[in-house]
Symmetry: C2
Subunit: 436 residues, 2 copies
């Protein structure tokens, strides 16, 4: 570690971004990747496709920052001005990169019949003195250029291309600039714990291990802890990360459901599939959301048989055999109906596990006895059926999400995960409220 961390700024170009037509998702993604490196992230500037605005943004950053990541404006059309503006800001001309032109022509020939339009050749020009970084997935090459005291990295704005270049070419350079050559990271994905409680639980580990940076990110209703170990060599980084990860996993116990990008439903599904078992949900108020989550990842046919979405009382009866009398006596949002839904879905599908969800997602339909957010969950499985009463807080979408997660959590617990604290089921997991 060096005493003063390098200052990093971002410049985002593009009329579409400035006008709100498309969202700039690259910068937040990058900031979340760079912050653990110990870099000082100081400013993002977004400007439209106007030459003077782009030049001004570059020249301003050039005297303030050590590194500046610029995205967008590297396409072949006339409103792609970034290469020219970079050269003008640096006070240099453009040079043709013959090797890149050759690569572009080959790429084009492999994909299309007609010859490459003349206009596209623009993408083979870089400012004099720039270092070509390339682009494994596209025709707009990334490059770096020094202007004044700042090293600029220019990247295409297409997220898929941007992210790969950032990961493979930029992050390693920035890691080295912090005085460390090796970076190992891990994201521990948690469910059932608030961000502030998570922070509290790992605080002693954080204090004892300054060699690892801790970061937090909320992805409703989950909270993720990111760990980043920077060290002079790979072995030291790996060892530091492994130690801290083990301590964090121990401290967080049942809250960690997975790491490094798995989804919650996928983690549950993989666990079910590993036992050669299957799932079939019975969903009322969630309208298929739990099954949607279970099937959004590839390979989900290994654990999902399907689902019965029984929104109407008639379908609860005809598809799952829930007795009409039960609904009349207790209401559709009740323990006996949740139980009958789960058992009916398990019987009808032959699945190993059938979670059931019935509740009041709102905004209408609440009563004093059963306010909006009231949800009955059930899980039918080999050992019988268990039920859970919950009251989740939030808008319609949040209540539905919390209910779908809750149903999957019952499966996790049936497979051995420690149960969540009781208060969880009464308010859901509080993502921390936005800041005023």
């Amino acid at each position: 570690m060096i005493a003063t961390p390098p200052i990093v700024e971002f410049v985002v170009t593009g009329d579409e971004v400035m006008r709100g037509t498309i969202a700039d998702t690259n910068t937040a993604w990058t900031a979340a990747r760079l912050y653990p490196l110990g870099l000082s992230l100081r400013r993002t500037v977004v400007v439209g496709d106007r030459g003077e605005d782009i030049r001004r943004a570059l020249l301003e950053a050039s005297v303030r920052a050590d590194f500046c990541i610029v995205s967008g404006g590297l396409g072949p059309t006339s409103d792609d001005l970034t290469v020219e503006c970079a050269a003008q800001a640096a006070g240099v001309g453009l040079r043709l990169d013959e090797a890149w032109l050759q690569r572009m022509r080959e790429r084009w020939a492999a994909r299309r019949r007609e010859p490459m339009p003349k206009n596209n050749e623009r993408q083979a020009y870089l400012p004099e003195g720039a270092e070509m970084l390339g682009n494994p997935d596209g025709s707009a090459p990334a490059f770096s250029l020094r202007i004044d005291r700042c090293t600029f990295f220019f990247l295409p704005g297409v997220p898929r291309e941007y992210q790969r270049i950032l990961n493979e070419m930029i992050v390693p350079r920035l890691a080295r600039a912090t005085g460390n050559a090796a970076l190992r990271t891990r994201v521990l994905q948690c469910y059932g714990v608030t961000e502030s409680r998570l922070d509290e639980m790992v605080a002693p580990i954080r204090a004892a291990h300054p060699e690892v940076r801790f970061g937090f990110r909320t992805k409703f209703p989950e909270n993720h802890l990111s760990l980043a170990a920077l060290a002079p060599d790979e072995e030291t980084a790996a060892r530091a990360l492994a130690t801290v990860e083990a301590r964090c996993r121990e401290a967080l116990a049942g809250f960690v459901y997975g790491a490094d990008g798995v989804t919650f439903a996928q983690a549950v599904g993989e666990q079910v599939a590993a036992r050669r078992e299957t799932l079939c949900c019975a969903e009322s108020c969630t309208g298929g959301l739990a099954t949607q989550l279970l099937t959004e990842v590839p390979g989900s046919s290994r654990w999902t048989q399907g689902a019965f979405v029984v929104y109407s009382n008639e379908l609860k009866q005809s598809a799952l055999g829930v007795p009409a009398e039960l609904i009349r006596q207790h209401g559709a949002v009740s323990e006996p109906v949740a139980r009958a839904m789960a058992e009916g879905a398990r019987r009808a599908s032959g699945a190993t596990w059938s979670p059931a969800i019935t509740g009041i997602a709102g905004p209408d339909g609440g009563t004093p006895e059963k306010p909006v957010g009231t949800v009955w969950l059930a899980l039918a499985g080999p050992g019988g059926t268990r039920t859970k009463h919950s009251h989740f807080r939030g808008d319609r979408g949040q209540v539905r999400t919390l209910a779908a997660y809750g149903a999957l959590q019952l499966v996790r617990e049936a497979l051995g995960a420690p149960p969540l604290p009781r208060h969880f089921w009464e308010v859901g997991q509080g993502a921390s409220p936005g800041k005023a």
Copy 2:
């Protein structure tokens, strides 16, 4: 209209935003609202919670922009620095707003038992010379302040509070600043047409009506056209908007499914409900997504009975009565199976309409005859069953989304909407690719 449109900039404050922990959704949302006003949106600056960075951002904007919208940093905690920084940048002190303090105390007393913490009183202080704008939904008041040549609007960052203040207090002021007092807007939401084709179809109307601003926004797989009429008075604005909207609706014919924020599935559902009819889907590769879309809005029990998510072949047979022989002979992704799924779901549910979806969402499971993206759709209804072969391009999530929309489109067409062009079903709707 005045000759040179006012220049607007944005300043976003907050460590969480700068570090990528939370995304700034306010700015893109605001830009999309302001662009139709004819304002010149020139720059967004994002800085963390550091006093010098906030002051610098404000002072820089103060000499460049006519208006600057600042979000965040108005909370009660010590890292909320915006009020102080605004005063320092303007070179003034702070004043206590007694009326706001009183309102805060009353709000607090109505909600909690304990007295309001001393710390919260910070939120009743504004820079001297600032105009109090207030906040109908929270304790952090919005205010405006002139610094140098620029009028700043300071808003809390919580999206719900931010958006209401922006709509009710800021947009009308900015509309007046353009020389027009009245603004009428309409968003025409389209499905089944690409952004470039949409642009082309309304180009003659746009050229003939410079008094209305046209804007485009892609929300995969939809494309939205926003119309904004600015005029000296309400009546002129309303008339101009009505004329242009009618012409656009005529030109776009069946592509417009709704306006001003309805969802596609909701528009279909409302149409079904208005006929006192119901829906029950049979979903395979979409895993419940179509039903998810149908039920994410309030009131969806009026049109949704439920769904059969039949991911496994066994469940296709047992829940919907699809003959095993049919699956063996034609494969699960085939016209006869889609037809049998639709008819089985309609029979089992008693719903008026049963759309069915079976396809290969990918990334695995494709064959030369049935590549990834192959989807068979069917719709069983009062007049019999129709089927549709499609090939959608995109990743797993996109194929699933296009398949779910396609199934709902069959319902629209059965209820009288003009059929989409044939090529649509062969590639899906192309959202325009991101810019490099």
